[in-house]
Symmetry: C2
Subunit: 204 residues, 2 copies
């Protein structure tokens, strides 16, 4: 019997969406359990290190979204062809997370005065720094982020993109045609196109 | 001919030390290039995404310390026995980095008033939350963090520990005997013991 998969997360895309992309890409059936935010205080204490998403596979609990994505990428054959390519993919995914963290440091700051001081550096320096370099990499890889072909780094980036855009309140790929190509390449995959058409609506 | 390895980093342990541990563990010769802090402004623009450590292997540049560690762990056989064990190791390493990030958010805050507001939550809630859970995991794995035996997650944790302790200004394992066991198990490995005896002195 095929393993039973259950994803547990907030009713949003965010860190859950790259996992959903990979499951869908591989044609893996899964329960997409989205809990109401009001139930989080009851759920949190039962999560490993108090965090979601988690993915249960035949009842065994996996946590940490990037680790889950890497595991699924092996199952659905979106990894590198050798250890060096896997290293490049891993470095790209961790770089995307650095990028995410820098946007999150701004977005989630609750003190408006502090938030305002972070705005200039983020939008004038940090975002362009990452966008230019990522775009150049996507150009040299023909519209993918690594290895000149589709890998789980592309699925991770595009799966996360709505969340990144929502936090930054801009379209981060707008002026970067090669990052747009990455986005278009992933969204053109038939399994992903189907998923995007049927997935529940959510703000980010 | 064996590949040529060159590590480039600040003259500290910090994010470079887990890489050095893994290289030493595997008996891999490497150039341990430690640049002076005053030269960082000249070096930074040439680093991928402006960050170190990098590891050059026959001139090819690898970046992102965790990705480098995972690559080296494959070479020196400190990975899991299957994809599920690798997932558990990856999740542990990312959890250690969450822990590091939370300490760093306090340590690197330059506004003393903000730093003071973070102190209580960090030391009364966040650190014990992680320490207790990590200690329980180390207990159930007989003094290791994953799989009941030495993996690169242990090398990563112990390699990083002086840096974590320096940022927190406490011995994070002091009251946690199972985390001490992880530390002792790694530091008892002959290659690591030799390295610790000869490595350059640094504050963290």
């Amino acid at each position: 019997m095929a393993p039973q998969y259950k994803l547990t997360y907030f009713p949003v895309k965010a860190l859950g969406e790259p996992i959903r992309f990979l499951l869908r890409y591989g044609g893996i059936e899964f329960e997409d359990f989205r809990f109401d935010r009001e139930n989080w205080p009851q759920i949190k204490p039962n999560m490993p290190f108090g965090q979601v998403p988690i993915l249960e596979i035949d009842g065994k609990v996996a946590h940490q979204s990037v680790a889950i994505c890497r595991y699924l990428a092996k199952q659905v054959k979106l990894v590198g062809k050798d250890d060096w390519e896997d290293l490049e993919i891993d470095a790209m995914v961790d770089t995307i997370n650095d990028f995410r963290q820098k946007i999150a440091n701004y977005h989630y700051e609750t003190d408006e005065a502090i938030k305002e001081t972070r705005k200039g550096p983020l939008f004038k320096e940090i975002l362009p720094f990452y966008q230019e370099r990522l775009d150049a990499i996507a150009k040299s890889n023909n519209g993918y982020l690594c290895s000149g072909r589709l890998t789980w780094a592309d699925m991770y980036f595009v799966g996360l993109l709505d969340y990144l855009n929502a936090m930054a309140k801009v379209d981060l790929t707008e002026k970067f045609p090669n990052l747009q190509a990455v986005k278009n390449n992933v969204l053109a995959i038939s399994q992903i196109k189907e998923w995007v058409a049927v997935r529940p609506e959510s703000e980010f």
